[in-house]
């Protein structure tokens, strides 16, 4: 009989990194379309971009960066054996996630209130490039928002694992991977924010 192998933390992290590559490629498709259509419709894109609320965008950027900091701190906490603190810090991350989604909801509902959403009567009257801009905006922020929800669910689940004791100072690989995923969600937003809210 082969002795049962110890948990391969390095392998688990390698797997997570590979998965993060796939996420980059997924969003890469959207960024590619953004680049091509921006080149084709620069004027329409800047009209569209001007209609986005950069203040709310900035607020969400701050919220997400804070959440990432809290996730990183929670990892340090668990490495030092402070399980309770780690849980509270994850709680903070989850609050940030909720805050982010709330702001996103406000942004979207105000846009939708103005009749700006894919397939609306109003958007059909806009110039072609502008409707493309908003389609890309909804798809990018929507799929990103979905990742925020998935990441928050993941961290919440890991939080229960900490209470159960299966994630602890001696075995924190799961939290490390959860935090890695959360940083990815953050990273994608770091690209979405300037592209849609600032540079147009």
């Amino acid at each position: 009989m082969i002795h049962i192998q110890h948990k391969d933390q390095f392998g688990a992290k390698l797997g997570m990194w590979l998965f993060l590559f796939t996420e980059l490629m997924l969003f890469g498709g959207l960024f590619l379309l953004y680049a091509i259509y921006l080149r084709r419709y620069p004027a329409e894109f800047s009209v569209g971009g001007a209609q986005l609320n950069w203040k709310l965008g900035t607020l969400n950027t701050v919220i997400l960066l804070t959440s990432s900091l809290l996730a990183a701190m929670s990892l340090t906490a668990i490495q030092r054996g402070a399980s309770k603190l780690a849980q509270r810090l994850i709680g903070g991350t989850l609050l940030c996630a909720a805050g982010f989604m709330t702001v996103k909801y406000l942004e979207w509902s105000s846009k939708i209130g103005h009749g700006i959403y894919p397939g609306s009567e109003h958007i059909k009257t806009l110039p072609a490039g502008e409707s493309l801009f908003f389609s890309l905006y909804y798809l990018s922020t929507g799929i990103h928002g979905l990742h925020v929800l998935i990441g928050a669910g993941l961290l919440g689940w890991i939080c229960t694992k900490i209470s159960g004791g299966s994630v602890s100072a001696s075995d924190y690989g799961l939290l490390e991977n959860g935090a890695l995923y959360w940083h990815l969600v953050d990273l994608i937003w770091i690209f979405i924010f300037p592209l849609y809210y600032l540079m147009l």
């Binding site: 009989m1 082969i2 002795h3 192998q5 391969d8 390095f10 392998g11 688990a12 390698l14 797997g15 590979l18 998965f19 590559f21 796939t22 996420e23 980059l24 490629m25 997924l26 969003f27 890469g28 498709g29 959207l30 590619l32 379309l33 091509i36 259509y37 084709r40 419709y41 329409e44 894919p118 397939g119 059909k124 110039p127 072609a128 490039g129 409707s131 493309l132 389609s135 890309l136 909804y138 798809l139 799929i143």
Partner: protein, 547 residues
């Protein structure tokens, strides 16, 4: 299932769970491998039936057994089934799972539960695709490429089919992640990168393509679904979108995807040829390197599917040039296989016959690919039966025949029983003859200008179409003989013990069928995968059994 020749410690007697749940909830890579194998093989047979029906419709001009709309749905479902349900998951999921962990001396893959999840996702995706055939507006009629604007507008059930393919893509990503991590982390002591069997090398290259290319398909499918359900208009010219962007995104995935299909097949061939030539592989390093080179260069050639789509001439030239670059690592493999055969002690058993026919069929397919890759000739044969013939030479003559080679080479190892040699050779001969009659004729038809994807054609194409259809019957007859003989043999054939083929890779050093734990003792690898002399001097049995 079947009743293999088991011993107490064999993985067939895995304890703990019983009946169906001991399979569909098992995390043993061998059981998951067999789950994958039988599910993909099942879909392969569905695809074969559809293919035969398509050929039957084309036996004579005009409507023969079905009308235009049925024909459209049928070739779409044939393509989607064969590509997404059989050939993409078939090799990595089936033989990759069965053999790769053993080849590197590991007990299992790095993430066994994730491995089971990827099979479940695959089945979930497959069921979703099947559901799309019988619900909503009926089976999709877009072709497996789902080109916009038609796929965004047709009333058939494209959205559900896309969702199914999306889920299957997720499963492929998980398999890729799992295999890369496994190969990096779980190699046994002494299993250096230079001693990795070439099948494992090819899976490693494949896994990278799965990881990096599949997400692009995922986002593209999501965009088409959004186009259909939300009206995002990203590919709709009337809204400023560009259908060409869909083609780019689709082929950024789907061209590398054909290397997901062919690379593991080349890996199997690289493992089989030296064993049945009783001679170490020629150019091990170059074959391993060329797998990576194909994976890398193959990711940069997608534009050759779009020469007539209205790209700029510069883009056409660049993509044409890059396409020719991919031919180099492919040719390196072919030359190395042939050089391995040279002065070898060749044993023409079933796995070897399939492997040798692979070399020929893949070469014909590859060379006809260059006719398509050259912009000038492509414009003449674009969207004709030449493309269909080319694709089937590479995918069926290549990957399909390699899949059959792998079945005859490895399945006896896992069942402890073997097939009868003579019927296997008869079946193989019929397959090989029927295959060439059918697909070579298709290439001729294409040269003469018969377009693809039409249920009808001009009367001057009638004779060759008749020939091709007769070829399809011969092919299927051979296929049936081979499969019946193989599975009858695995159930009740002669015992298969030890190392009858005389292989030097690790899977031949363990008991037959393999124990649940794979290795009785942790293996220490002291020689390369094709070092037959060292393998015989070591602990392995190398008695070559002849019938």
């Amino acid at each position: 299932m079947t009743s293999p020749a088991t011993t107490d410690s064999s993985f067939w007697n895995d304890t703990g769970k019983s009946g169906l749940s001991s399979w569909i909830l098992s995390t043993d890579h061998k059981r998951i491998g067999l789950l994958y194998f039988y599910s993909t093989l099942g879909f392969f047979l569905v695809g074969v039936v559809l293919g035969v029906l398509l050929r039957l419709e084309l036996i004579a001009p005009g409507r023969t057994i079905m009308g235009a709309e049925t024909y459209n749905a049928l070739f779409t479902v044939h393509g989607v089934t064969m590509i997404f349900l059989f050939i993409l998951p078939g090799f990595p999921g089936g033989f990759g799972n069965l053999v790769m962990p053993i080849q590197i001396g590991a007990r299992d893959v790095a993430f066994p539960r994730l491995n089971l999840l990827s099979w479940w996702l695959y089945m979930g995706g497959a069921v979703t695709v099947l559901l799309s055939l019988f619900t909503g507006g009926g089976p999709p009629d877009t072709g497996w490429t789902f080109y916009v604007p038609f796929s965004a507008r047709t009333g058939t059930n494209v959205t559900l089919a896309l969702l199914g393919v999306f889920i299957i893509g997720f499963s492929a990503i998980l398999t890729g992640m799992n295999f890369i991590t496994t190969i990096h982390r779980l190699r046994a002591e002494g299993m250096t990168w230079g001693r990795l069997p070439l099948f494992t090398w090819s899976l490693y290259a494949t896994a990278w393509v799965q990881i990096l290319a599949t997400p692009i398909l995922a986002i593209t499918l999501v965009l088409v679904m959004a186009e259909r359900t939300l009206g995002t208009g990203l590919f709709d010219p009337s809204r400023g979108g560009d259908p060409l962007m869909y083609q780019h995104l689709f082929w950024i995935y789907s061209h590398p995807a054909v290397y997901i299909m062919i690379l593991p097949a080349m890996g199997v061939i690289s493992d089989i040829i030296p064993v049945f030539s009783r001679k170490p592989i020629f150019g091990y390093k170059m074959i391993a390197f060329s797998s990576l080179a194909i994976a890398a260069a193959g990711s940069l050639v997608w534009g050759h599917h779009m020469f007539t789509s209205g790209m700029s001439d510069t883009a056409v030239l660049v993509f044409s040039f890059l396409t020719f670059i991919v031919a180099i690592p492919s040719a390196i493999k072919v030359f190395n296989w042939v050089a391995t055969l040279y002065k070898g002690s060749i044993s023409l058993e079933a796995p070897m016959l399939f492997a040798l026919s692979f070399i020929l069929l893949f070469s014909i397919g590859g060379l006809s690919g260059l006719i398509l890759g050259a912009a000038a000739t492509d414009i003449h044969v674009h969207d004709t039966h030449f493309v269909v013939g080319h694709f089937h030479y590479v995918m069926f003559g290549g990957t399909g025949f390699a899949f059959f080679a792998a079945m005859h080479y490895w399945l006896p190892k896992f069942y402890g029983r073997r097939y009868a040699e003579k019927p296997a050779i008869w079946g193989w001969s019929l397959m090989f003859i029927g295959f060439n009659i059918m697909y070579f004729t298709m290439q001729l038809l294409g040269m003469k200008g018969m377009p693809r994807r039409y249920y009808d054609y001009l009367p001057e194409f009638a004779r060759l179409n008749l020939v091709a259809t007769v070829g399809s019957w011969i092919l299927v007859a051979g296929l049936l003989i081979v499969l019946i003989n193989l599975f009858r043999g695995l159930r009740s054939g002669a015992r298969f013990e030890g190392n009858p083929w005389g292989g030097a890779t690790l899977e031949w050093s363990i008991p037959t069928p393999p124990p649940t734990e794979n290795f009785i003792e942790e293996p220490l690898v002291t020689h390369g995968p094709y070092d037959f002399t060292a393998a015989c001097n070591g602990i392995n049995r190398c008695d070559i059994i002849k019938d």
